[in-house]
């Protein structure tokens, strides 16, 4: 059988991709945001229960050590911020095991940038400006939605107050899933399912959609605040275009103690689920202890944005060699 060695993307697409990458660099150069390159390997990994980290054994000066391939360049970039770098951006190779599909690849490029002193709203505006500058035609206005409002509009339920049993049966029904699959699942899994299967495909059609006020339980590395209704929510946003999630931004958590306890909660949840624990990044925690400036940061899936800009059907159409053919 012939071995398939050809690139996943056409050479013409790779030329267009290079031009878009150059535009990204110009965008940040014009705004005095410093380009940085941080390591792909780290002594700690992402404890996020829903991400599967890859790790490798390396011979270091301290003998053979387990090093983690980053799921995003977040930890190293935050250490730079704590060291006083000022605004920084990176086009970083990131890794998430098992994620292969039309919008996923185990190895992918994350555009991540941090803006000390920026509010979440300022960063949303900058993210939208960048996205629009890379698209061949204007996608339409930037429209803000609150997470709660989307569930009211599309599903007639309240994500914060609807009883869990009702969310479970609604999610199972709307996603064509056997009800017993969700029997042991919590609110977040039901909400994620409804968001991904019902709401997300309808977002970003003839507009750039930004969603704010996610449940506080989905804060990850973002701060939390009380919204206009007095509900505790995560201080983060996501941007959607053509039903595809493009970016995820935070008002960054800078409290070292809070960060430490979230890592511990993640690993406790991992133990409960029978998942392997992940080494906590002590150097990030030490940097937060030292003090990281307040500000906002965002991660944007640049491969997906290029896919949309070039009108390609699958992510692999804009990758040199997708994971299945690497």
């Amino acid at each position: 059988m012939a071995i398939d060695w050809q690139p996943s993307a056409s050479l013409e697409t790779l030329r267009e991709r290079a031009q878009l990458m150059a535009k990204v660099r110009t965008f940040f150069a014009q705004r005095d945001v410093l380009e940085v390159e941080t390591p792909v390997l780290g002594q700690g990994g992402s404890t996020d229960v829903h991400l599967v980290s890859l790790h490798t054994l390396a011979r270091t000066d301290k003998g053979q050590r387990r090093l983690w391939l980053q799921t995003s360049p977040e930890f190293h970039m935050k250490r730079l911020l704590a060291a006083g770098s000022g605004p920084i951006f990176q086009l970083a190779r990131s890794f998430r095991d098992g994620e292969i599909g039309g919008r996923h690849n185990i190895e992918f490029t994350m555009l991540e940038w941090y803006r000390p002193q920026f509010t979440l709203d300022q960063l949303i505006d900058e993210t939208a400006t960048l996205i629009m500058s890379l698209l061949p035609s204007f996608p339409g206005p930037l429209v803000h939605y609150r997470y709660r409002e989307l569930f009211h509009t599309h599903l007639e339920v309240d994500p914060f107050t609807t009883p869990l049993e009702k969310l479970r049966s609604l999610a199972a029904k709307r996603a064509q899933m056997p009800a017993q699959s969700l029997a042991a699942e919590g609110r977040d899994t039901c909400l994620d399912l409804l968001m991904s299967v019902v709401i997300e495909p309808q977002l970003g059609q003839r507009e750039l959609s930004v969603v704010v006020d996610y449940p506080a339980s989905q804060a990850a590395l973002a701060r939390r605040h009380q919204d206009a209704d007095g509900q505790w929510v995560a201080s983060r946003f996501e941007v959607y275009l053509n039903g595809i999630e493009l970016a995820n931004g935070y008002d960054e958590l800078i409290d070292a103690a809070e960060q430490r306890s979230r890592f511990a909660e993640d690993n406790a949840e991992r133990r409960r689920l029978g998942l392997p624990e992940v080494d906590v990044d002590e150097r990030l925690l030490a940097a937060l202890d030292h003090g990281m400036p307040e500000g906002a940061g965002v991660a944007l899936g640049i491969d997906r944005l290029i896919q949309l800009a070039l009108g390609k059907a699958r992510l692999e159409d804009v990758l040199t060699f997708s994971t299945p053919s690497c």
């Binding site: 039309g102 064509q176 699959s181 977040d188 994620d192 991904s196 997300e200």
Partner: protein
Amino acid sequence: MANYSTNEFKAGLKVMLDGDPCSIVENELVKPGKGQAFNRVKLRNLMTGRVGEKTFKSGDSLEGADVMDLEMEYLYNDGDMWHFMKTDGSFEQYAVEKKALGDTEKWLKEQVPYVITLWNDKAISVTPPNFIELEVVETDPGLKGDTAQGGSKPATLSSGAVVRVPLFINQGEVLKIDTRSGDYVSRA
């Protein structure tokens, strides 16, 4: 049968769902930025032919279905069952029910090879070859000299199928038919 996890799902894999054997048509990972991963899976129910979409949590698994495709020649109909014989030289025969035969009933011709789908050694569907040659048993008389385009008429073939044919076709002629669309292709 083995169990298959969502990360082993791929087009063509045969699995059991709600008691029926199904063939996976498409498997797509759905993953929110911060949350549990799911797989949206399109499946064809091999008993009914219907295609539906289902969601699974990533890591869930389904039991494999003991489904096999075999090439067999059509032999005869005994009024109740349709009989086929393996073409591998074993002369092994299978009896097929009307339900499993479905639409293929109108494309049956003796000694032509069909693909019989077996589940637990029982025939559940019969797929005709893409093209088949059949004789016209009834149609309006042909128009002499009219070999040009334009106009068609119904013709009943030896298998019982009725297809639209050009006006110049006569009773007794053997035609090549595309069984997927039911269209006349040419004279055989």
